[in-house]
Chain length 82, copies 2
Amino acid sequence: MIFTVQIKVMPLKNLLDPQGKAVMGGLNNLAITGINDVRIGKHIDLTIEASTEAEAKQKADDAAQKLLANAVMENYEIIVSS
Amino acid sequence: MIFTVQIKVMPLKNLLDPQGKAVMGGLNNLAITGINDVRIGKHIDLTIEASTEAEAKQKADDAAQKLLANAVMENYEIIVSS
């Protein structure tokens, strides 16, 4: 079976997010007001072939831990859909 | 009211995604198998002050069109939660 797995990788809440800060500045320059905070992370869509949803999630988790997310600076969230 | 708005910016389906291809190579090197496709985009969390959900969504849409997404190469999706 083919599963579509989404992984959302975001910088940890306590850490400064320089990319987000830069976008905040950009929004102010464009006179878009009312935006109090911006945080930028990665969104990864995986197409995984596995026999069960749990197996697909396990593979995604493995990939996230070993390659996609840096646990020192980022946390990640996995959403599996078939 | 404060709304949390998530914007998911992904490369268009028809376009090559070099970052995704690189990650595919990395996953193969790590012997993580069964992953057929990888596409990598951005995930942006905005904290928006607005009086209604529609207004918050409008601001996020404005920000996405003017700054966050490049319509030639990317599409985006907005999810508002209060």
